[in-house]
């Protein structure tokens, strides 16, 4: 059917019209967004609209990897397919060897698609088999409106998630110490076994800049637009912000976070 070939972002524009969300406090923030306070969504827009999540996908990829016999010292050999990954890359070459530990750091902090594909191939044998595991994991975790076609977040017709599902995913990710430790880094460095060193900043610009921002991930593709899922903790209160297709995601996220904390009765210092 021809309509199904349309990218979900376009489809979602039409779907959005059907969502009359009474808690849409920031109507201009993003195509879809969610703001959760201590895990409960209080403000949002198009919360259940299926949209491309770009590299926010990699958070699920990390959970799949870490939930299954994770061996951080395992050595991955980069395939031709991984070396030719589209989008953001670390710069791995075919035949490079890197530990799973370093590949995961590069995947989560730099959002490196070459490292991401290498991990998926190592874990499941093929990317396609890994995607099957992702979709099983998504269903198990209760991500009811999410479906994945690749491990790294590249645009694909049925590669979608929702603001609500991504709030859930953010919570699960931050409970996992291996993920939480990485996504809170402002900078990181990894090396191949041949000695090539890669240093990089966290793609998530909120880390190290927005007070209390300690995770989780950003993403961008042509069809997804600019996306971010942010985890902020201040004085015992926690705010999660998910923005999907937000033209000015950093200021928008920072502004929403300040608004959220301004409305919270925080304990006196």
């Amino acid at each position: 059917m021809r309509a199904l070939k349309l990218y979900p972002g376009l489809l979602a524009l039409a779907i959005n019209a059907a969502f009359a969300d009474p808690t849409d406090r920031f109507p201009t923030a993003a195509q879809a967004y969610a703001v959760a306070i201590d895990g409960d969504i209080h403000w949002g827009r198009a919360l259940d609209a299926p949209l491309p999540p770009a590299s926010l996908t990699k958070i699920l990829t990390a959970l799949v990897l870490l939930d299954r016999n994770w061996q951080p010292d395992a050595v991955l050999t980069v395939s031709d397919r991984a070396a030719r990954a589209e989008g953001t890359r670390l710069g791995l070459r075919k035949g490079d060897r890197i530990t799973a530990n370093d590949a995961l750091t590069a995947t989560l902090v730099r959002s490196a698609n070459d490292a991401c594909l290498a991990l998926a191939e190592h874990d499941a044998g093929t990317v396609e088999r890994f995607v099957v595991r992702m979709n099983i994991e998504a269903a198990t975790l209760g991500l009811a409106h999410s479906q994945f076609e690749n491990p790294c977040g590249l645009d694909a017709p049925s590669h979608v998630s929702t603001a609500r599902d991504l709030v859930t995913l953010a919570g699960l990710a931050m409970k996992n110490p291996e993920i939480a430790r990485r996504v809170g880094l402002t900078t990181a460095a990894v090396r191949t076994l041949d000695g090539r060193v890669f240093s990089f900043h966290n793609n998530n610009a909120l880390i190290g800049r927005l007070p209390g921002a300690i995770g989780v991930k950003s993403g961008f593709t042509v069809h997804a637009g600019k996306c971010v899922m942010a985890w902020i903790e201040r004085q015992g209160k926690q705010v999660t912000v998910v923005l999907l297709n937000s033209p000015d995601r950093w200021w928008t996220a920072a502004g929403i976070v300040e608004q959220a904390f301004a409305t919270l009765p925080l304990p006196s210092p």
């Binding site: 808690t23 109507p27 201009t28 923030a29 000015d248 920072a254 300040e258 608004q259 009765p265």
Partner: protein, 333 residues
Amino acid sequence: MVSKHSFFAATSCVFAMGSMYFGPALAEPGDLWEVTTEMKIAGMEGMHMPPRTQKVCSPKQSDQPAGIPKPENNDCEMYDLQRAGGKVSWKMRCTGKHAASGSGEMNYQGKDSYNGVMKMSADGRDMEMHMNGHRVGDCDAAEQRRQVDKIKADAAKAQTQAAQYKEQMCASAVDNMLYAQLRAESGLNCDPKYKLDFCKRYVTEDGYNTLASRGDQPIPPSTEPPLQEIGTVCGAKPEVVLGNLCANADKTESLVFLARHCPTQAQPIAQRECAGRGYTTPPAAKYRDFCSNYAGKLLATGSDASSAAPNPAEKKETSLDKGKKALQGLFGH
């Protein structure tokens, strides 16, 4: 209106079962009584209080028959104590905070059983307490007294803690600007000084910010009055308070307060310090929080104070386009 609580305090607490208060401090022989009491309060017939049975140790060497209550403090006295055969009657009165008066009568069936009634009037209400007791064995009266003393000490401690808790609640109401807790209807009965403290905080940046942000809370507390009502309670209109606070915040460069509440003062600062700045090539550190808060305010209100003029083409814009403009006009990427 007399509360149920104060009525019980007046009648029950000032008299206690007399048998508990006699005898030396060390171990002493006593009679163990099983005593059943049933309370009836005039006007509260619908509220059925079941009979209460407890074991009471009464010293064998006592100057007062078992079961007869004895005043616990100097505000109360028993008088006109009369004895005729197996019947003992008395009168009693209390003055002061727990003023009350009453009479009682006890009938003894030998040494092992009694029944009787005590009638009291306090706070305009009448109460009857029916009692009957049966001796069930021997006991150590001193041990019982120690237990009673402990219960009394625990009760006093609980009362102190309750008073401390109340003070904490009242102070917390000021800290968190929760006026509903300071109202008489809340039942907390906070000292009037807390209302004064509340109103003092209302005219500060912190206090005003807490109150003004409450309307934006995802689930605002429904019992809290709106800002206008607070203005009436404290005798200072919110717009006047805000005007003073904004002028002061401008002088002292209280930037976050300006960003959140003072669009007139904030707008030129935002143009100067935030405009065109990307989040990764940020404004001066001093203004970072200001710019974030200003961005949040723009997103929440949906417009920049500087672009208030209506735009005829706006109808065709999606909300996302508006958002892009709202922040792009001021912020970079």
